[in-house]
């Protein structure tokens, strides 16, 4: 904590009824969102869902049509961006090409009247934090993508903002570097303790890094919760489909309210009458069962024909047709006990699903 800039406290963000239209497109449709003080919150959604628009509104670059944004107690909806004291890492990094690394990072300090020795010291400290000591005199175009990313990061927090925004900061990096930066960003967040809003359309990145994930689609907030809850209890088919891999199959409901999948009871709709229900099966939760295994109160067993098994490195993916037009994906470890070994395409196989891993979502509403 000693590295955190002096006098900085994280601030919560409270967004109410935020709306922004571009012509007939609702980029943001009456969004309510609370970001807790000091948390790492990720906005996750497909391309064009409004993530950048929301971030721009928080930073003050775009003017919403209506709504309220509070940083702590202060309403900032009318505050110009240069007075919001919010750090931002841009997808393009937006480093100033006519300044070297130290001048880029020193820029916000210079504007705040911090001069000479103190500025140099704080720039150096920031460089150290992002592991770029000694790079101050470099020009921007002498840096690799990952180094630029760090400079952009250092510039965003060097002046001690209470809120940090990042718009897909890792999307330009290759997979290896991206995964390392994810850990470093997480580490830095813990160290600075600053309220962070992070944008990505990579669900895996969102699950890895966040305290909470806000799933956004078509300018609306669909679900806001911890990664575990989002993954294990998706609010609707959109979330289930967008986060992780899944096979979704329709359920029927009997008169008693029990939910049936091909005659097997998988859940209970309770008194809820007027909806359709969907069974979500995660490929990695399914396994190959012994031939002749039966559904019991622990496991649901389905039988089908193995269509194809594809080697994918750390795991193998099998497609099993449980009837003529329904295929279920099964993922299994390449060195685990469960495997398709011995089975060839065309063979009859049984697949099992633990009842605890059953995910049932209400469907039939607007998703």
């Amino acid at each position: 904590m000693t590295d955190a800039p002096q006098g900085t406290t994280a601030l919560p963000i409270q967004i109410r009824d935020l709306t922004k239209r571009y012509g007939s497109v609702h980029a943001l449709n009456s969004v309510d969102l609370d970001v807790h003080s000091g948390e790492f919150l990720t906005l996750l959604g497909p391309s064009g869902s409004g993530k950048t628009t929301l971030l721009m509104a928080i930073a003050g670059f775009s003017r919403p049509d209506s709504g309220s944004i509070r940083f702590g107690e202060d309403e900032v909806i009318l505050t110009p961006p240069h007075k919001r004291e919010v750090g931002m890492v841009f997808q393009s990094y937006a480093l100033f090409p006519h300044m070297n690394v130290a001048d880029n990072i020193g820029f916000p300090l210079k504007l705040r009247g911090i001069s000479g020795a103190e500025r140099a010291a704080r720039v150096e400290e920031a460089l150290e934090t992002v592991q770029l000591s000694g790079f101050g005199a470099r020009n921007i175009d002498q840096l690799s993508g990952g180094q630029r990313q760090r400079v952009a990061l250092a510039r965003a927090f060097v002046f001690g903002p209470r809120i940090l925004l990042m718009d897909e900061p890792l999307s330009a990096l290759d997979k290896k570097l991206r995964e390392r930066m994810q850990i470093e960003l997480k580490h830095l967040h813990r160290k600075l303790g600053v309220t962070t809003v992070y944008v990505t359309h990579d669900q895996r990145e969102a699950l890895t890094m966040s305290d909470r994930v806000a799933v956004i689609n078509d300018g609306e907030l669909i679900q806001l919760d911890t990664p575990e809850v989002i993954y294990n209890s998706p609010a609707n088919a959109f979330v289930a489909d967008f986060i992780g891999e899944s096979t979704m199959l329709p359920l029927t409901r009997d008169d008693a309210g029990a939910l049936l999948f091909r005659g097997q009871v998988v859940g209970d709709a309770g008194t809820d009458q007027g909806r359709d229900w969907t069974l979500v099966m995660r490929p990695e939760r399914l396994f190959f069962a012994d031939a002749g295994a039966e559904t019991d109160d622990q496991t649901i067993v389905l039988t089908g024909v193995l269509r194809e098994a594809v080697f994918q490195g750390e795991s193998e993916m099998a497609l099993v047709a449980i009837d003529d037009d329904t295929e279920v994906a099964v993922r299994f470890g390449t060195s685990g006990r469960a495997s398709a070994s011995g089975s060839n395409a065309g063979d009859q196989v049984s697949i099992g699903l633990d009842r605890n891993d059953v995910i049932i979502i209400p469907d039939g509403q607007a998703v």
């Binding site: 240069h82 100033f96 020009n139």
Partner: protein, 303 residues
């Protein structure tokens, strides 16, 4: 597999090496042949006349080598004044173009591309009319009983006609108008290339709009401005028509004087010497500017 192949070439088989080299050479020659027509034109209309010019300028009255044409230039004060006028007009025109062109280019760069195209058409329109026509149009507008004076007097802005033409003012107005597109085009290009995120970043880091402009936008637009200014400046140095028509004999630039020498004295030697000096001065200016600004190398750290 890959290993086996690598081993093969290391053992020195050099498969098809000579044929591949020949193919490469053939391609290079065929590319070179594309510039041959241009090279011929350059030799014919630039190198040969220029050499001839140099040769003439060092020719004395007796037909032998002599420096007398250059010597004359240092003797007469009028030559000195002509060069001062030339640089003065060129510098002032360039400044006027920057003053008019920078805000205009900035405005264009903020517009959505479709509208920018429409406005750019308006900027470029003058390019498609003859230089002479545009110059005489200014004469019509600016002369003593011209449209501008008549209008101003009718409205009551001033009582007696103001002398707007046949002097330095008129020359500058005309030249700035003609040169403006040469400044705006490269400048607009440079401005369009400035990422919107740059200005967002500046604001986000705490820069108010004025700071953001001077510390980020302006430096990023500078290469375009320097390029445009140099084009304008160099074109001005050799300009003839506009000072001749709108200067009314009071604004004598080098080109005007060269014409005068040829028409009145038929002195090819003196005229050539003047041309050579102008050429050297122009080259020198470009060289200094290139060193001073190193163009985008200095600004973007590329060596």
């Amino acid at each position: 597999m890959a290993r086996a192949d690598a081993g093969g070439s290391r053992s020195g088989k050099h498969l098809h090496e000579a044929a591949l080299k020949r193919q490469h050479a053939r391609e290079q020659w065929s590319v070179l042949s594309l510039v041959v027509p241009a090279m011929i034109v350059i030799v014919l209309i630039i190198l040969i006349p220029l050499s001839w010019l140099f040769y003439l300028s060092f020719l004395g009255d007796d037909g032998g080598f002599s420096l007398e044409n250059y010597h004359k230039m240092t003797q007469y004060k009028s030559y000195y004044r002509i060069f001062v006028t030339t640089f003065q007009v060129s510098i002032l025109t360039t400044l006027a173009c920057i003053a008019l062109g920078y805000p205009l280019a900035f405005f264009l760069a903020q517009l959505p591309p479709r509208w920018a195209g429409v406005f750019m058409l308006a900027v470029l329109l003058p390019f498609w009319t003859s230089l002479l026509v545009r110059t005489y149009a200014w004469l019509v507008l600016l002369q003593k009983r011209g449209i501008l004076n008549e209008f101003a007097m009718q409205v009551g802005l001033w009582e007696t006609p103001i002398k707007l033409v046949h002097n330095l003012t008129g020359t500058l107005i005309g030249m700035a108008h003609i040169m403006l597109p040469f400044l705006i085009l490269p400048l607009y290009n440079a401005m369009r290339k400035i990422d919107k995120d740059m200005m967002h970043a500046a604001a986000n880091l705490g820069a108010n709009p004025i700071n953001a402009f001077w510390r980020v936008y302006f430096p990023l637009s500078l290469p375009g401005m320097v390029a445009g200014s140099l084009i304008v400046f160099v074109l001005c140095l050799g300009f003839y028509v506009t000072p001749a028509v709108l200067g009314g004999g009071r604004v004598i630039m080098v080109s005007n004087h060269i014409t005068a020498i040829l028409e009145n004295q038929f002195d090819w030697g003196a005229a050539s010497a003047l041309g050579v000096v102008l050429l050297v001065a122009t080259t020198f200016t470009l060289y200094v500017a290139a060193r001073l600004f190193k163009f985008d190398a200095a600004l973007f750290g590329r060596d």
